[in-house]
């Protein structure tokens, strides 16, 4: 029989107001294997922890139970406490009498009774706890960053500046992401390109960053400290080493001005050989295989013009996809977002009326390098009557997006300001749901825009309709309580952010969970916003949820610091609370293999039994519960331990 110490915390009055701690001590002290039972005001404080340490030494305890808050809160604290005096941390057991008892009950007598049962259960379990040892794995001192938008760029630079090698993978031919498409940024009106392009150039020049553009992650195996990554470099049909970025090929391409430019949201045309935008990094041309006449039909006039004019002989129509493999210790997912598909709100007539455009499209109209050279010309005319509709695809359960996209209120304010500046006699109305100008300097900017004459009317639009060549927006003014309608030459939809479906593959490779909004789920919404539940995998930017540039950059730096924390260790310790196969009993049915969400099961063909990859197993317990022969044991959550605990509670 073990000697067990039990320590009951008052948590100030959080527990002791509802639970009679004295009574609990009285009852628990009666249990035979309880060598000592004490209480304290704040067990997590230094004196509280000292008391536990002293008791372990004085009574030569074999196991310790602390009855206090949730183990998610202080289990790590007390595990450290007991191991300070030489006890195995897995001989510590926590009983939650706060969240699961005192906080949710009002009847003191009954709550006390429940607390006694809970602690009794914990004692019964503590009797059966086994010491466990963590295993160490070496850490590969490099990182993979997936996504080359502002989040990925910032993360890569921060990690690389700490001296670690970074592989930055971007699916497009250039890094820059959505931020490169913006004209100016709110609320400071910095030119997006002016603040972004220096960072892009830094990435390209950094000796510690290996930039893999026009590339996609094909597979990721392994686990924290050593992920094995395969990246497919899609063929550019242009030799990166030879291309000087002069652009002669694009100007002379037979399809010049014929192919819709993705970067310009289809508002401008490019050639079949192109760079997405003039400041692209790397400034190397790419041939679009879906457009190029030579790649599609095997011939392009007498000979391809790009080949004729290229002075460095860089065109290579025989280019093929290449897969490269490398190892990294940590991964940052910075895959970004997609603009909401405006066609999904048919009432706004995005596909019917050419003067209805999305926020991102208007950004391109503003951009000096955009389709109109920055002039506010929509369908050949300068618009005078302009309506902005907010919350298109945000806060809208009908399209499955109940969340706020967090940027639209402010980008609408910025775009309204820019339009007013470019067209002073324009009449601009913003139809808004609620104004959310929460960031630093945002409210002030919103006020400034109002003072410039932009009209804000609360209440969202219901419909855009056309009649006799004119377009009208119908809405309700919810402050005046009246329906109204406005004629408009330009209607801008404040389209929100939604998860990028392309990110789904990366999510699957890494076994990442999604939150209900479809973005990647962080480990804790408040305290672990850059971590995921998968060790060694971190999140940055809008892949985790809608956010603006300042928040994205802050999170990117946060993710980078967590990566550096990890890479700076020589080795990582694995959690020993994982599944263990009893090879003598396993019949090799593979039931567990199908259930494992982490691919931690490997079948040993020679012995005909299952093996568990200790680095991959997260200890979820699915396999142990499902094993028909009962041959998988969950360390720290054995059947005996759980049953003993339940029997005491019942």
């Amino acid at each position: 029989m073990k000697d067990i110490g039990v320590f009951i915390c008052h948590c100030g009055v959080n527990i002791s107001n509802t639970v009679d701690v004295k009574k609990v001590i009285e009852e628990i002290s009666k249990i035979q294997n309880v060598a000592i039972c004490k209480d304290y005001q704040y067990m997590c404080s230094d004196p509280g922890q000292e008391m536990i340490k002293r008791s372990i030494k004085e009574h030569d305890l074999d196991a310790v139970v602390v009855a206090a808050c949730s183990p998610r809160m202080h289990e790590p604290t007390f595990r450290a406490t007991v191991s300070d005096v030489g006890m195995n941390p897995y001989c510590f057991e926590m009983s939650n009498i706060r969240e699961q008892c005192s906080w949710v009950h009002t009847d003191k007598e009954k709550a006390t009774e429940k607390a006694i049962d809970l602690v009794k259960g914990a004692v019964a379990r503590a009797q059966l706890l086994e010491p466990l040892q963590s295993e160490g794995f070496p850490v590969v001192p490099s990182a993979l960053v997936i996504g080359g938008g502002i989040a990925g760029i910032q993360t890569a630079l921060d990690i690389a500046n700490s001296g670690y090698k970074v592989y930055l993978v971007e699916k497009e031919p250039s890094i820059g992401g959505h931020m490169a498409q913006f004209d100016k940024t709110f609320p400071t009106l910095d030119c997006a390109a002016c603040i972004l392009t220096p960072k892009m150039v830094d990435v390209a020049r950094h000796p510690k960053i290996e930039l893999l553009t026009h590339s996609e992650v094909e597979s990721i195996e392994g686990s924290v400290g050593n992920f094995i990554v395969n990246v497919k470099k899609k063929p550019r049909y242009v030799d990166m080493d030879k291309c000087t970025g002069c652009g002669n090929c694009a100007v002379n391409c037979r399809l010049v001005g014929k192919i819709s430019s993705e970067f310009d949201m289809g508002l401008a045309k490019r050639s079949a050989i192109y760079v997405p935008f003039p400041q692209a990094v790397p400034l190397k041309y790419t041939i679009d295989p879906d457009a190029c006449l030579f790649l599609k039909h095997g011939r392009c006039g007498k000979s391809p013009k790009c080949v004729d004019v290229c002075t460095t002989d860089a065109i290579n129509f025989n280019d093929e996809p290449k897969t490269i493999e490398f190892n990294v210790g940590a991964i940052v997912v910075a895959t970004g977002y997609r603009e909401f598909t405006a066609e999904r709100k048919p009432e706004f007539g995005y596909d019917l009326y050419p003067n209805v455009m999305t926020g991102l499209e208007l950004e391109r109209i503003f951009a000096p390098s955009g389709p109109t050279g920055g002039k506010p010309i929509i369908n050949g005319k300068v618009p005078k009557k302009i309506v902005f509709i907010s919350c298109v695809g945000s806060r809208d359960k009908k399209v499955g997006h109940p969340y706020c996209s967090r940027v639209c209120c402010m980008y609408i304010a910025k775009q309204a300001h820019l339009l007013k500046e470019k067209i002073p006699d324009s009449d601009i109305t913003v139809m808004y749901t609620d104004m959310r100008s929460f960031g630093k300097g945002y409210e002030e900017f919103y006020e400034r825009v109002q003072k410039e004459g932009v009209k804000y009317r609360r209440g969202n639009a219901s419909e855009v309709y056309g009649n006799d060549g004119k377009t009208y927006v119908r809405a309700e003014d919810t402050l005046l309580g009246i329906p109204y309608e406005l004629e408009a030459d330009l209607i801008v939809l404040g389209t929100g952010l939604e998860p990028d479906p392309n990110a789904g593959d990366v999510g699957k490779m890494l076994h990442l969970s999604l939150s209900s909004d479809g973005f990647f789920l962080e480990a804790h919404p408040k305290l672990r916003p850059v971590d995921t539940v998968i060790d060694g995998v971190f999140l940055a930017g809008t892949a985790q949820g809608p956010k603006d540039i300042p928040d994205t950059v802050a999170q990117a730096s946060g993710a980078a610091s967590h990566v550096v924390n990890l890479l700076s260790k020589k080795e990582v310790l694995s959690e020993p609370t994982i599944a263990v196969v009893n090879e003598d009993m396993c019949v090799g049915c593979k039931t567990c293999m199908l259930l494992c969400p982490y691919d931690a099961h490997e079948f040993d063909e020679d012995k005909g039994v299952m093996k568990i990859n200790t680095a991959l197993c997260k200890g979820c317990g699915s396999c142990s519960a499902a094993c028909p022969s009962g041959s998988i044991k969950m360390n720290h959550f054995t059947k005996d331990q759980i049953v003993a605990q339940i029997l005491e509670v019942l």
């Binding site: 048919p346 009432e347 009908k398 419909e463 009649n467």
Partner: protein, 290 residues
Amino acid sequence: MDEEYAFFPGCIAKNVYPGIEKATRIVFEKLEIGLRDYEYSCCPPPGVMACYDKPSWLVIGARNLLQSEKDGLNPMTICAGCYGTLHNVWYALKNDPALMDYVNENLSKIDLKYEGKNHPIHFLDILKDHKEKIAELKELDLGLNVAVHYGCHYLKPTSVTGENSERPTLLDEMVELVGCKAVPFKDRLSCCGAGGGVMSGEPDVSLKIVNTKLNNMKAANVDAIVDICSFCHMQFDQSQKKLGTTEIPVLHLNQLYGLAFGIRPKHLAMHTHLVSTRDIVKKVKAAKKG
């Protein structure tokens, strides 16, 4: 006949606009779709009844639904209101076993039981699968410019109906089959003003709503209104007499098809409408000759 439905005519077609029921029977016979009759009561209305006494609404709705359950027939409605009730009741009971238990507890008093095995369907959703046959049966291209009216309960709530309520196109396509054009007009998807008990409870408001809608139709210069709902049909027809301002003939889609199939207008009881359908009849006759 391979295809057969339980015919739920609804109170208005049965008592006020017999032409809607008659036209439906004729059109479905031509299309070789069977209609079987049952002992139905009032649906009862989704606005008036469901808002005041939802439990009774569910029980009465379920009693109507169960009539044809044992025969394996789905009830077909020709009114968006009846559809709203039957479909919403069916949906609520299917997704909430506790509600189903409540309903059956009450139905057991009259020795009845509903199991939710059949499901109600609006006639437009049946006809959409017979477009070729309708085109085949068409004897005349009617050549009318019409204002189509979908009826709110046919489209909404979208979570239940699964319809595209912001830009529906089905009825537009269905009138085109017989050579009519669905003319765009302002606020074409707005309510007729009758539903939700407004017609009886707030007659002035109801008239105001329908007047706005009728004026928008008039501005678009339409020859007729085509509806798929007996209640909307009644609202458009009766209100015009009360307002005395507009004279746009009102046709249920099945009456329109009846005309296109060469049925005599009298057999479609079009002479029983308050707003004269004479102009339409003239145009049809002209189309026949041409």
